[in-house]
């Protein structure tokens, strides 16, 4: 329980790691849109190649990318199977009893599964190459123009930072409370779902009370350290776009060109 690493940040030094977080966030958005704009199955090849290039530049092992798909595996299988059997079309490929496998069904199944895989691995490149705090910084800067319409960009980023800071502390505390309750005969492991959910109450109540107490303490400590919201605040970490970021933006434009130009012509 001691050494909890948050998120899935993969700490190596690579050109992708060193990109400005804002660039990476915008790029991921553009990439996601690109995945949805792909007109036919063939055009997934440049998108996948783009993804692979990014992963290679980021020095990410292939297994890390596969691991990000693991929580999605059931959804992937369901997506594939449903599209395979419940689509109807004109070209029969195979018939087993009452089930007919249509060519269109196979194509949609492949399209949707590929789309899902590309989306998930693509966004995991963002979280694998960007430390959570840097990501928060980037989000704050990107959202700050929205302050004009009273969007609390700074407050949101501060809350995320504090959450990141306190998650390990609270996990440790939950572990401690759990052991204390177990020592007094509490049972967290057996019984049906309802019984186990009920067993969590003596864990959650003290955890919540302590979290509120911590929040009160922290608010006072922050005030004592002159915290007064985002106004007039400077930041230790400066964000600056470099040549590398320009290259990154150009690369996504190139991807768009490859996907969309054949359709235009």
């Amino acid at each position: 329980m001691r050494d909890i690493t948050l998120g899935q940040y993969y700490p190596v030094d690579s050109p992708i790691h060193r990109l400005d977080p804002r660039t990476k966030i915008i790029l991921i958005f553009l990439y996601i849109i690109a995945v949805f704009l792909v007109p036919n199955l063939l055009m997934y090849i440049p998108v996948a190649a783009y993804l692979m290039l990014a992963a290679w530049l980021a020095k990410l092992p292939f297994s890390m990318l596969l691991r990000s798909l693991k929580p999605m595996r059931i959804l992937l299988i369901i997506t594939f199977v449903l599209n395979l059997f419940f689509a109807s079309g004109t070209q029969k490929l195979l018939q087993i009893g009452g089930f007919v496998l249509w060519q269109e069904g196979l194509l949609t199944a492949l399209t949707f599964s590929l789309r899902l895989i590309l989306l998930v691995t693509g966004s995991s490149i963002l979280t694998l190459t960007t430390a959570p705090v840097t990501l928060t910084d980037g989000l704050e800067r990107l959202a700050s123009p929205l302050k004009v319409i009273k969007f609390p960009a700074h407050e949101m980023a501060m809350m995320m930072t504090i959450a990141l800071r306190f998650i390990p502390t609270l996990i440790e505390e939950a572990d401690k409370i759990m052991k204390a309750q177990t020592a007094r005969g509490a049972d967290f492991e057996t019984g049906n779902l309802m019984a186990r959910a009920r067993a969590m109450i003596p864990l959650l109540v003290p955890l919540f009370i302590s979290a509120f107490r911590r929040a009160g303490d922290l608010a006072m400590a922050m005030e004592a350290r002159c915290y007064r919201g985002g106004e007039g605040r400077t930041r230790l970490h400066k964000l600056a776009y470099t040549k590398r970021d320009v290259l990154a933006f150009l690369s996504i434009l190139l991807l768009y060109a490859i996907i969309l130009l054949p359709r235009m012509l």
Binding site: I4, L6, P132, R165, A221, E223, C226, T234
Partner: protein, 284 residues
């Protein structure tokens, strides 16, 4: 600014609610620049409340608090006061904000609007002064309690304060952590001339101060040098406080007709006395 007492408290009364009993009752206190004051008192004696009034976290119900001549009730000065009189709290976990030591020390600097390029030297200096430089990239939850408190102190030092107020900063630490924090603060007091207000319920810690205040029922019950205060054993007992363990030991020895000074305050002084009485008992 010289000549003005660093911390000046005049007829200070404080109530948590308008009709609640007085948490602090007509306190008058003047702390000169560079002094190390320890404040003792049993639970509920008002010592933590006083600490929070010293940097404007609470505002006086009656009377005034001045830090370097600035009134804590003055809205325009409140941030200067908080920067000047930095505060360390009891729970080491609940005062660090960032996910890395270095970033946490920067937090106060960011708040007071220090230009980014000026921050690194100030952060490095503060970490060096607290002996935390080698931990600068560590996540706070991987530090010991004493180390977390030293980071909290570094966060304040980076803001170049003139006074440090420590509100039972060692209460939740193990003996090793208590020692680390006390040594750090004593060094800052001696070398940097920072005024220290050290609130504690460990008598031993108060022996290292230049001046000891004992609080009871929201009032200052005793005020003097550690030696004057801890000589008054019966008075302390009335206020539900003990004398420091080494003073206690010396008194018990004295009762057994051993010719030891009864006003020994801490281990160092006791060692000196034992060496005097029996030069061969201790090596070195």
């Amino acid at each position: 600014m010289n000549g003005v007492p660093h911390i000046q408290v005049t007829d200070l009364t404080y109530r948590y609610e308008p009709d609640a009993p007085k948490a602090l009752d007509t306190i008058n206190l003047s702390v000169p620049r560079g002094q190390f004051v320890a404040i003792l008192g049993h639970n509920g004696s008002g010592k933590s409340t006083l600490a929070k009034l010293l940097n404007g976290l609470f505002l006086p119900t009656e009377g005034t608090v001045h830090i370097s001549g600035m009134d804590t009730r003055d809205d325009d000065k409140i941030w200067d006061i908080r920067r000047t009189a930095g505060m360390v709290f009891q729970n080491p976990d609940n005062q660090l904000v960032a996910t890395e030591v270095y970033d946490d020390v920067a937090f106060g600097l960011e708040n007071i609007g220090v230009p980014p390029d000026d921050m690194p030297p100030r952060i490095d200096e503060a970490l060096a002064l607290t002996g935390m430089s080698e931990f600068k990239n560590r996540a706070p939850h991987l530090l010991s309690g004493g180390q977390k408190q030293r980071v909290a102190i570094a966060g304040i030092l980076a803001m170049h304060p003139e006074a440090l107020i420590l509100d039972e900063a060692t209460a939740m630490l193990d003996p090793q952590g208590r020692k680390e924090v006390l040594q750090t603060v004593r060094r800052l007091n001696e070398e940097q001339g920072i005024t220290v207000v050290w609130i504690t319920h460990f008598m031993e810690e108060a022996t290292h101060a230049q001046r000891v205040l004992v609080m009871d029922h929201g009032q200052i019950a005793m005020d003097g040098s550690p030696r004057e205060i801890f000589a008054q054993v019966d008075r302390l007992r009335d206020l539900r406080l003990d004398v420091p363990p080494m003073t206690q030991l010396a008194r018990l020895l004295k009762e057994r007709d051993i010719d030891i000074a009864p006003d020994v305050l801490n281990v160092e002084e006791l060692v000196k006395e034992v060496k005097r009485l029996c030069p061969l008992c201790l090596k070195n």
